[in-house]
Symmetry: C2
Subunit: 273 residues, 2 copies
Amino acid sequence: MNGEISLNLATTGQQWGFGEAVDGCLRHGITAISPWRDQIEAIGIEEAANIVRSNGLRVSGVCRGGMFPAETALGRQANIDDNLRAIDQAAALDADCLVLVVGGLPGSSKDLPGARGMVADGIAAMLPHARASGVRIAIEPLHPMYAADRACVNTIDQALDICASLDESVGVAIDVYHVWWDPRLAEAIARAGRMNRIFAHHICDWLVPTTDMLLDRGMMGDGVIDLPAIRAMIETAGYHGPQEVEIFSRDNWWQRPGDEVLDVIKERVATVC
Amino acid sequence: MNGEISLNLATTGQQWGFGEAVDGCLRHGITAISPWRDQIEAIGIEEAANIVRSNGLRVSGVCRGGMFPAETALGRQANIDDNLRAIDQAAALDADCLVLVVGGLPGSSKDLPGARGMVADGIAAMLPHARASGVRIAIEPLHPMYAADRACVNTIDQALDICASLDESVGVAIDVYHVWWDPRLAEAIARAGRMNRIFAHHICDWLVPTTDMLLDRGMMGDGVIDLPAIRAMIETAGYHGPQEVEIFSRDNWWQRPGDEVLDVIKERVATVC
């Protein structure tokens, strides 16, 4: 199994900015990262690209594009325009992909199929610029508990149905936190492999109990997800890239020194992933 | 559309016991209820059955059986035995069905497929007694956010796959809170109709934001679920029974007088469901 780690910079986002996180990764022998756009913009895209290049880093993804639905055509176009800027940032960092959190219900709408249509339309609209820029787009299905307010694409199969209507520059980011419960998980990952659409693999863990729907993700091994089983499905499906560690943990891991967090991540990836 | 209401007695469970809730329902012209086993046991099954019969009430369901997975064969048998007692209670009340919350991962297990196998085995084991007692069994798929600790059956399709291997005394309880996000919702409800397996329809609403994963359900109309659309799917699929109102709401509806809650329920069912 490929034990390569990528650090999603949200994991240490409360402790470290872009440059500090890269320094921390290098101290720990981690040579892949996945930054968020606010972290990139805080230092500027040229400086971010310079740090990536000069250290020979792999950028496993840029977080995030998406958020397509809006109540008006003007709003939807503004969202697409923002995604075009995100493509430029991903291109400047030579990222493996731009990760999409696609957005939920716009305004006071209860029309989930309608929102899903806006997502498919938005991705199609950004695709020409992505292709021209050499940037792959990774739809990240989010857990169904985020369907209303964050992402109305909630299963790998649903994301693949969108992919199937587009070309191979659109794929999926598989985050165990969002998909581990899916009764069709094995079949869906195999299908993604056959379609050659697995662009990223994010890991963390599902805690029992979970005390916050957004900011209580667990460190690998502290929860109930069978991480080795899911990694085996993903590698069997043909993806051998890094496991990207993305942990939103307001009350635990965000309170610890970044170096301690990286120590634990390395130990857990080596033993329980 | 059938505007018949059933009151799931959890909705007023902090204000009213079994008898008080029935009195409240009758004051408001509601003639169907769905009690929980602890509420039945608090007054005894004979008294509960007498209240139901003497008032000509419909019992749209008894909550709940299930909770099959356990780490040992002895534990699993104890869980099956408890389900046999639940069948007797449902039979005594002439309930439309016994609702199953099937249970999650047993102990420290991370084996979700294994837990799902225990659920299928448990349902099969209770079925002869259910058939002999004339009690139908309704598997309630729970929202994926409960996969670890409450129910590892998380979609209507998954529940129907279990049903398909058994006879027509096993069906599904469709609670909008648990299934509204499902990209396959329309297809799954239609499939349930073709299989003649829709035994119950529960309603409430999904609030944005949701502040508690268990006890922050919304009153119909206060959230994002397109209730008329889902009811139309269910009636088209052939189910015309009551809409059972089940709202766990620690900080809002459980704090209000039961009569106020019933007033609002009636108004909302008439206007937004």
